[in-house]
Symmetry: C2
Subunit: 101 residues, 2 copies
């Protein structure tokens, strides 16, 4: 018996997803750039979470070039944009929480 917040949870669950969406909401990014932003993360996990976000249609991937080196760009979708105000509020709340400590 799933409530809507379980649905939300399913989609956003994952260590990097929220932050990926925030970054992509600012600008389109190539994979190599994303990887640098999440220097601590393993590629396996990063790719996995990018794929899941893509599957949920929150982000879009565009590949240029037919043979290596490839060039792939990740961008936020119109649908993905609808979740960003919410993510920003999480950000703000997190800031306030820090001040309280």
């Amino acid at each position: 018996m799933y409530t809507p917040i379980d649905i939300f949870w399913q989609i956003i669950k994952g260590k990097y997803k929220a932050k990926i969406l925030i970054y992509l909401n600012e600008r389109t990014l190539r994979y190599s750039i994303i990887r640098k932003k999440f220097a601590g993360a393993s590629e396996r996990i990063l790719i996995k979470q990018l794929k899941e976000l893509e599957k949920e249609r929150l982000i879009e991937k565009k590949i240029t070039g037919t043979k290596p080196p490839f060039k792939t760009e990740y961008k936020i979708s119109n649908y993905g944009k609808t979740i960003c105000p919410l993510l920003k509020q999480m950000w703000f709340w997190g800031e306030k929480h820090l001040q309280q400590k």
Copy 2:
């Protein structure tokens, strides 16, 4: 290197936490009632997440009685109330997401 959204994430991470807060925001609940609402969950996990929420001062626990049967009530704290509007928006977003499918 933690951003505020990582902080938020740390606090709300956990399968039942968001929903617990939403329930407690409506009314104070005894443990046995909470357990019924999360019929599928194991007690160990439920207790653990309640404790973590208590540790972060998002909820408060009050125990009545010195010998069994005890009576414990969980209620949301003033601080916990500040996060609920955000949780409700997650709920709404989840609803919309469902309609799209």
